[in-house]
């Protein structure tokens, strides 16, 4: 099966310092891939380069086999390659309704009524009573949910989620978990960068470990953390598995 999204020797340097690469990576349609790695291992840079928010120093990005390395970020989104952000998740100074309406416009919907907005919020478990609230006034967890809802309105083929569980309480984390399971059920692929292993690993078909800007290891969720080199890179100790 041809990959939906793949990269070939993708790398990014900042002022001559290598932050990423070379990275060969692939995601198949409907597959959920987790990316783990210590801070500074290049995960977010990888997201930025793959989604077109940064130009790679070298290497290529492919979408269904076609080279999209030079394609602008907004065009990649229209192809179905959608991402979320760690911090800037929503449009804070506008209402939740207008946040969702913007995504509906981008999907080409003519109907921007509350009835059209409702399914988007419902998909991520965000209550409809928040419609009139300023998005910036939502709780952190609700902002995360709204941010994901915006991306999912576009009906992406694949969604790249940057630390979707960061800063969430247990209830919000449960809502995000449910939403991610629905993603998988609906055949939408996902690449999830996350530190919270207990939440991430059960959701993933495959886990990729980044260290020093490169892929250190990849494999099934249940196997990957047993590897000594992964534990050494991620936790900074080599003997933890044996203890």
């Amino acid at each position: 099966m041809s990959a939906l999204l793949s990269t070939q020797a993708l790398s990014k340097h900042f002022d001559g310092v290598r932050a990423l690469g070379p990275v060969d990576f692939r995601v198949d349609p409907g597959e959920i891939v987790g990316i783990i790695g210590p801070n500074g291992s290049g995960k977010t840079t990888f997201f930025n380069v793959v989604t077109g928010f940064m130009r790679p120093t070298a290497g290529r990005v492919f979408w269904q086999g076609a080279d999209i390395t030079g394609v602008a970020a907004h065009r990649r989104a229209r192809l179905g390659l959608v991402r979320t952000f760690q911090e800037k998740m929503v449009f804070p100074g506008t209402s939740v309704r207008e946040n969702a309406q913007l995504a509906l416009i981008q999907r080409g919907m003519r109907d921007l009524s509350d009835a059209a907005v409702a399914p988007a919020l419902d998909y991520v478990g965000l209550p409809l009573r928040t419609l009139d609230q300023q998005a910036g006034d939502l709780s952190w967890g609700q902002c995360r949910l709204l941010g994901m809802a915006l991306g999912l309105v576009l009906k992406p083929r694949i969604v790249l989620l940057d630390e979707p569980f960061a800063g969430l309480n247990r209830i919000a984390a449960a809502l995000v978990t449910t939403m991610l399971r629905r993603l998988k059920h609906d055949g939408i692929g996902g690449v999830i960068v996350e530190h919270e292993m207990s939440l991430l690993l059960p959701l993933c078909d495959r886990v990729v470990v980044f260290a020093n800007g490169q892929i250190l290891a990849e494999g099934a969720s249940e196997e990957i953390l047993k590897r000594d080199d992964v534990r050494a890179a991620y936790f900074g100790v080599e003997t933890l598995a044996r203890d």
């Binding site: 989604t51 970020a73 907004h74 065009r75 989104a77 929503v90 506008t94 946040n99 913007l102 576009l154």
Partner: protein, 320 residues
Amino acid sequence: MLSRIAPYLGVIALGGFALLLPQAQLSGQVMSLATGAVIYSIAAAGLGFLWGQSGQLTLAHSSVFGIGAYAAAVGAKHFGLDFVTAFPWSIGLSLVAGALIALPSLRTSGHYFVILTFAVGEVITVIEMRLESITGGVNGITALPGAQTLFGLRIGGRTDYYLVVVGFAVVVFLILLALIRSRWGILLRGMRENEDLSRSLGVNVALHRLIAFALAGAVAGLAGHLYMYFVKSIAPESFTSHLSIIFLLVVLLGGKTFLLGPIIGSVVYVFVPEFLGLSPVRSQIAFGVILVIMILLAPGGLMSLPGRAMARLRARKKTA
């Protein structure tokens, strides 16, 4: 249905009120001030739309306003164009200038972009000074096109011109209102709030920003055209960055996210010094102080005050 058309009716009602003003037998000086205030409000509305809706600020707005004025003046003096036939030139050239000013924003943003627009504005002023054979250089152009007609009606005196300017203002504000409430308005506000997120949702930020600048330029050009036919004599020094700061002050005074903010701002800016009898220097000091107070106490502008007061009242009722 009524809630959808109410804002449009509000603009038309305000325009109707402004059109009735000459019936109050006001002095010629007051009518001139009112005409100036309406022209300033149109120009500032362009900046307010750009800044308030798309989040982009430019300090070259006065230069684009000037391009509209120069197009009208050069058209009248060298090409025999009149009020109507010069219009496409004033608006078209300003529209192009507005879009060109936006081009650097594709490579830079924030404060750096604002400084860059300041530099662009200064360059335009220098060009206006150097193109002596066309612009009249430092001395500018005095165009005396004579009495004009619009839709077959003669624009005779001061009052007639005031009515024409108000008519244009109503049309401009109605168009801007429709754009603010349109799907495009939603996209612009998204870009204002979070450019990266907009891009990640497939919004072509560069294109929409370019269009927003072009639109603001066209509105400034229209105001510049009206200004030229009002004062009939223009010079480069009339369109320096100082005027951009005045437009900015007008927008801030009224409230940058409010369509009618520039009207309130320009009325305060034009009439308050006159009624208080302030000299130009004193009025500048007064507006400097007002600007600081506004930024500190009411960053949303005068138009935001009723809403804030209502919110406070509601909060008090809740806690009581």
